[in-house]
Symmetry: C2
Amino acid sequence: QSRGAEHREKGVKSDHEKQYVGFATLPNQVHRKSVKKGFDFTLMVAGESGLGKSTLVNSLFLTDLYKDRKLLNAEERINQTVEIVKHTVDIEEKGVKLKLTIVDTPGFGDAVNNTECWKPITDYIDQQFEQYFRDESGLNRKNIQDNRVHCCLYFISPFGHGLRPVDVEFMKALHEKVNIVPLIAKADCLIPSEIRKLKERIREEIDKFGIKVYQFPECDSDEDEEFKQQDRELKESAPFAVIGSNTVVEAKGQRVRGRLYPWGIVEGKCSAQEWQPGGTGPGRTAGLW
Amino acid sequence: QSRGAEHREKGVKSDHEKQYVGFATLPNQVHRKSVKKGFDFTLMVAGESGLGKSTLVNSLFLTDLYKDRKLLNAEERINQTVEIVKHTVDIEEKGVKLKLTIVDTPGFGDAVNNTECWKPITDYIDQQFEQYFRDESGLNRKNIQDNRVHCCLYFISPFGHGLRPVDVEFMKALHEKVNIVPLIAKADCLIPSEIRKLKERIREEIDKFGIKVYQFPECDSDEDEEFKQQDRELKESAPFAVIGSNTVVEAKGQRVRGRLYPWGIVEGKCSAQEWQPGGTGPGRTAGLW
C-alpha cells in the first residue's frame, strides 16, 4: 500500500507539469476521492488462545485494540463457547484514512471438545455475505457498510509437528469463503532449522489436504528487479513465521518493540528478510520471515 | 539421589574405621543389596504433542529413547486415539543400576474432540495397581514386576494464559492415582516476567480447582543450611519451567546441550537456579527453573 501511495504521488507531479485534455487527472481524482473516503479493511484473526493474536494485531497497526480485555480463567473457559468480537479502529497514515475492523474469535480451539468449533465463524462470514447481497439489491446503495471479511490470519502453533487436525478442519471449512493466510505464531521459540522444517511440513500438508490458502498476486512485470526479488522471497517464505511485541525494549541504544530474553533481544520489526542463522547479535531479527 | 549415594559412601568409610558389634554394617548391606538389585522407576509423560516430552526425557537421562519414532502427519493424527507406549532403558550411574520405564501417551489432546481422552491413561494406571495387587496376593512374591507409575510429568503449554480446560480435566482425573508434577513446557519462549506471571496463575488455578499435585517431602532438619535453602527455592519455583535439547551447540568454547537462536544460546543444563533477568550473555540460563 505504501508503494501504491508513492506511485500516485509520482502521478500527481507529472500531471502538474503538462496540462493535457483532462483525462490524465482522472487517477488524481480517484486518488483524492479515496483519500477523502478512506479505506475499509476487515481482518479476521483465528487460532487457539495464547498464540499472540492480539499482540500481533497491535504490533502490526501500532495501536492498542484490546485495552480492556479480560483474560478468562480456566473455570470460565470450560463453559466458554466460540464468540465473534469486533473491534474497530480508525488509523491515519500520511492523510490516508483506514477503517480497520478486527474480527476476533476468542474461545476457538480452547474447549475439551472442539467439534465444529469453526461453525460460529463460518456462520458469521456467511451472514456478512448475505447482508452485503441484501444491501446491494436494495434501493439505497450509496452508503453500504461492507462488513465482509477480507482476510483471515490463521495462527498455527509453533509446537505442533505440522498442522493439527483442528487446523486442517478449520481451514477446510473456511477456504472457500475467505482468504486464509496461515501464520506460524510465536516463531521466536523455534530455531532457524526448526522453522524451515515446520514450514516445509505445513506446505506439504496444505497441498495434501487440498487447502486453498491465499495466493499473493503476481507482481507487475514493469516493477524493478529488486522489488521482484523481494516479492519472490516473500512468496517463498509462506507460511510466514511471526512474532509480536507490545513492549518497548532497548537494543543497542535504540528503543524498539521487542522481547528481552536473558540470552538476547528479539526485535519485532516488520520485514520479509530471512533469518541469518549465523547472526547471534541482538537486533538482527525481523517480525516476519 | 546423588546426595543419597554420597551419604551411603560416607557410611561405608566410617564402618571400616571402627569394627563394632555388626549392626552398623546393616546400612552397608542394604546399600550393597540395592546396588546389586538396582532400582525401578516408572515415569509417565503426558501433555499435547509438540511440547517436548520426548526431548525432555532424553535430556534428563542423557539417552535416546525415541530413536525409531515416526511422527504422524495430520491425516494420521485425525484418526489417532490416545495410546500408551512403554519404553524401557537400563541406566547405570557409578555402578548403580536404574531400570527406567517411560510411559508415553502419544495422541493425548491432539484430536478435535478431546472428551475423555484421559480415559486410556487412567485405565492404564488402574490396571497396574490391580496387577500389583494380584501379584502381591499370590504365592510367589519374590520376583514381582512393579509396573505402577511412580510419577507423571504433565506438560502445560507455555502459551495458554494459565491452565486450559483439558489440563484441568486431566489432572483432576489422575491426581488421586499418581504423583503429578506439572511442568511449563518449552519455557524458552517466555521472558522472565511472563514465566513469573504464568507460574502464579497456574498455582492459583491448581488451588482453586483443588488439584493435588505432588508435594516435595520436607528435607531433613539435620541438612546443612545451603541445602535447605536450595530445597526451599526448588519448592517455591513449582510448577517448574523446563526446556530440553538433544543437540549439542558451542557456547563460549564449551560444547553444551542447548538451543542456538539467532539472538543467543539457551543452555539446557539442569539446575534449580533462578533466571537472572539482567543477564543477556549465553550460558546464563538453566534447563529447569
